[in-house]
Symmetry: C2
Subunit: 249 residues, 2 copies
DNA sequence: TCGTTTATGTCGGAG
DNA sequence: CTCCGACGTAAACGA
């Protein structure tokens, strides 16, 4: 069977295809790119994702995400792979010059992927134990608190004086853009609620860039150091940590 | 030769390795993750990047970027692949249960990758032809204009009245955070220069979210519609467009 | 669909 | 190293 037919059949059967090939690639869509001849790894997945890797670097050099329409054309002795996203007029063309390796098979992978340590986990720990994370007793008003067009406030608390406290959580170093994000939220809330209600703002992160701290102070916003290790302890204590993440370093 | 030895030799020789294997994966570092048994594609690149793909989705399920230290251990009849980044205490462990496919070869790929249509290209077109992009004659003061700790203003112009004009360029829809980014820059410049100098601010993008426009107006900032198609025409006219991007749709 | 936010983001550039 | 901003960001989630 010819390569063209092999590829067509593999794609139709929703196999996962791996090609190692000397090829050139053009892309046209949101931007445009050209890649001259060289040896690359081409992955074609069952969901229509096409990913081209050079022999170096983490990121693919060219790609189409899942859902793209893949066609294979005969071309000067070898073949041409076209991956299209018609909705957004995006096209990637791979001219295969020489196929050095071909693999095609239906792969079985139904396992669940579990992750711990994202922003949501840190947020949860702060909600469950504001005293040990933010240093004061706070009553939860809401989390992922919708501010309409202004986005979402990570957490909204009420403090012991009855003031609103808006908290923006970052899982790693908070920079100046995090500060402005928080500022946007308090300003929106201040505009929306009664004038006599005080609205505080806290940026909670394991670390802060120097400029972030300058702007926080200038804007009259507060900040607290929180980190994932502590969050893990809290969640474990409260029984909110999946068992496979109990024994980490 | 055993799989362990094959892998070790391939890695040492800086081959590109492709494995298709039933495996489990754990990761611990900036976050933690567990992935149960299933069939995946594992890429090991000459620069130490390790990338694991499931048979679906664009993004790798687990990875380590270039420069990681890769070791191979014998383990219950099969083997264990460990990719380490010691500086940041990051570790990915792949337990290979059954290797369905193995490929290893030195790949040659020295071709250059050319892209057109990034923010820089749009910026260049605005600088070369402010009249047709921003609608007025402007004299260039600087681009990638350093504001010290506050970052960089994309372009700074002087208008016919002698006012400074700060321009922030976005290659796609500008949202509210772009507006605040621009606001940050003008405020910095206003703080730094004489009080009597007027500083205007323009957000230039192909599209604006409704909220972005509301905030622009509220903050007294201007905005102009610019797009890459027009930019391409300008750059082609002025001879600033690489020839391989001349005949696009 | 658009708009907003997160990401083990990655990558590149400047200090 | 850190800080900053772009990315064909992708992916998730809500309106």
């Amino acid at each position: 069977m010819s390569l063209v037919e092999e590829l067509r059949q593999s794609i139709q059967r929703k196999n996962t295809v791996i090609l190692v090939a000397r090829c050139t690639i053009t892309y046209e869509g949101r931007a445009s790119s050209k890649l001259g001849e060289g040896e690359r790894i081409i992955l074609i997945k069952e969901d229509g994702a096409v990913i081209v890797h050079r022999p170096f670097s983490y990121e693919p050099v060219n790609y189409q995400p899942p859902g793209s329409i893949i066609t294979v054309e005969e071309a000067e002795g070898s073949c041409r792979l076209i991956a299209l996203r018609p909705r957004i007029h995006e096209k990637m063309v791979i001219e295969l010059k020489e196929v050095k390796h071909f693999f095609s098979s239906r792969l079985e992978d139904r396992a669940e992927f579990h992750m711990w340590g994202d922003e949501q986990d840190l947020r949860q720990a702060i909600i469950l134990d504001p005293v040990s994370t933010l240093g004061e007793e706070l009553e939860l008003v809401g989390s992922e608190f919708s501010l309409g067009s202004a986005g979402y406030a990570d957490i909204v608390f009420r403090d012991k004086e009855g003031n609103l406290v808006v908290v923006e959580v970052k899982r790693k170093t908070a920079d100046v853009s995090s500060v402005y994000q928080l500022k946007r939220y308090v300003e929106k809330i201040r505009r929306e609620c009664e004038k006599n209600l005080k609205v505080r703002a806290i940026l909670a992160a394991p670390k802060f860039t120097p400029v972030a701290i300058v702007v926080l102070k200038r804007e009259g916003l507060e900040y607290r150091e929180v980190n994932l290790q502590h969050a893990r302890k809290i969640l474990k204590q409260k029984g909110n940590l999946p068992s496979f993440f109990h024994e980490l370093a």
